[in-house]
């Protein structure tokens, strides 16, 4: 059953498949922070809205940890993408 959905793209921004996530979990990565750093899941412009829940579910399932104990990665500012130009305009006001 696992094999069949390995090709599913979990993170569309960074093009990461479920299979790649499973491989890294099998190699010993145990947290969303580690998977984010090695695979870039959740680093894209959508900030992990779709992929992080799937990554958490997969960690929970494969490592038998309750989902609430699989923490999402730390949120990084800015909350939305902002152009340098707008940052400068903001600061001149």
């Amino acid at each position: 059953m696992e094999k069949s959905d390995d090709d599913i793209i979990v993170c569309r921004c960074e093009d990461v498949t479920l299979g790649e996530i499973r491989e890294k979990i099998r190699e010993g990565l145990t947290t969303t922070e580690e998977l984010k750093r090695v695979l870039r899941v959740g680093m894209g412009p959508c900030r992990g809205k779709t992929c992080i829940p799937i990554v958490r579910r997969e960690l929970s399932r494969m490592l038998s940890i309750p989902i609430e104990d699989v923490l999402p990665p730390k949120d990084r500012p800015p909350v939305v993408m902002v152009k340098f130009k707008s940052i400068l305009e903001g600061s001149e006001k």
Partner: protein, 375 residues
């Protein structure tokens, strides 16, 4: 549990020392990492790799590291995304240019292919530069950039394959020295090691204090950001020692940018809006088109600093080694430094004399004056 060597810190330095020890035959090694490899400064860094230094030893460490980086992906079995697009260093004043000319002749004498270039030549390499803000530049085509997360991960994995034990989520909380061994207390039980290495990055001082050694190191926040990916604009790192800014497009297409700022010593790694404004101002001054690029994410990490912004390397008590205080250049010199540290631990004479970087230089007043440091 007992090990021959215990390393505190699973950043690039700790993992690379572990890997080199194992490669040289010492496989009874444990790395204690309070989070996971890459969680510290390494995973947060710009990962620029520059050989354009003003001091011979730094040139040698950086040049030796580049040679290692060039084949590291195949050596470690993970693509660490090392790219040699060069470093373009802007000269804003005549005085700076004179210093750069001296640096370039030293670098050339050590086999580093840097050169002084004109504004026009710089514009050929990076057409987006604002010609009004600089008078010349230096360029070294074999400088570059790697992916720090993958590099740290690759060293950790390769070390593990050779038999090193990497203990994630294991924080060393106390050290006792008895009968020639170090007894370590951690949240996962006690360990005994024959040799101990402090590679704790931003936490080098509290870790050394556990062993009773007072290091003159301290930590400072350094912020950084990444933009949304854009089509390839240029391949080299652009830096200025005047504003302390560095700008690099990574293989992924995004730009990674940071800048030197005045910071209070401490362990704060929060991000600030002031930093965004500061970077926006400086980057649009040297690269005006950057106004149109968007910031996706910002974060911060610690520079572990020393009074002369150069690392402290070596044995500070019998069996207690330190590799700390790398300021803003610990990633680029990690491969060679780790090889040297592993040799020192095993009693093998290294090919670069790093005795000028010993701890007692501060007592003796022999501080190192490196003219080309960022932050």
């Amino acid at each position: 549990m007992n090990f021959d060597v215990g390393i505190i810190g699973g950043g690039v330095v700790g993992c690379a020392i572990a890997y080199n020890l194992a490669r040289l035959g010492e496989k009874d090694v444990v790395v204690f990492e309070k989070q996971y490899p890459g969680a510290g400064s390494t995973g947060r860094c710009g990962a620029g790799v520059r050989q354009q230094w003003g001091l011979e030893m730094n040139c040698r460490l950086a040049r030796g590291s580049v040679k290692i980086f060039e084949q590291l992906s195949s050596e470690l079995g993970v693509d660490i995304e090392f790219r040699q697009g060069g470093y373009l260093v802007l000269a804003h004043t005549e005085k700076q240019l004179e210093q750069f000319e001296r640096n370039v002749s030293l670098q050339n004498s050590l086999g580093i292919p840097s050169r002084v270039i004109t504004v026009e030549e710089a514009l050929e390499i990076v057409p987006y530069l604002n010609p009004e803000v600089f008078i010349a530049a230096t360029f070294c085509p074999t400088d570059g950039h790697a992916n720090p997360l993958l590099t740290n991960y690759a060293y950790a994995k390769a070390a593990e394959r050779l038999g090193v034990k990497i203990m994630k989520f294991t924080e060393v909380t106390g050290v006792e020295r008895l009968n020639g061994v170090f007894r370590l207390r951690t949240n996962r039980g006690d360990f005994e090691v024959g040799c101990l290495v402090n590679a704790a990055g931003g936490y080098s001082k509290p870790v050394a204090a556990m062993v009773g050694v007072d290091l003159p190191t301290y930590s400072e926040r350094h912020q950084i950001l990444v933009t949304a990916p854009v089509p390839r604009m240029f391949d080299c790192m652009v830096i200025s020692f005047t504003s302390g800014i560095y700008v690099q497009q990574v293989p992924h297409g995004s730009f990674v940018l940071g800048i030197a700022e005045d910071e209070e010593p401490g362990y704060n790694t929060n991000s600030s809006w002031q930093f965004l404004e500061h970077v926006a101002r400086e980057v649009t001054s040297i690269l005006p088109v950057f106004g149109e690029l968007s910031v996706v994410r910002q974060w911060a990490g610690l520079y572990n600093k020393t009074p002369d912004s150069q690392p402290i390397l070596g044995e500070v008590l019998p069996g207690f080694f330190v590799a700390v205080g790398f300021s803003g250049h610990g990633f680029m010199i990690a491969p060679k430094t780790a090889e040297i540290m592993a040799k020192l631990i095993l009693g093998i004479k290294p090919d670069i004399d790093i005795s000028p970087l010993s701890l007692d230089r501060f007592e003796k007043g022999e501080l190192i004056v490196e003219p080309s440091v960022v932050g």
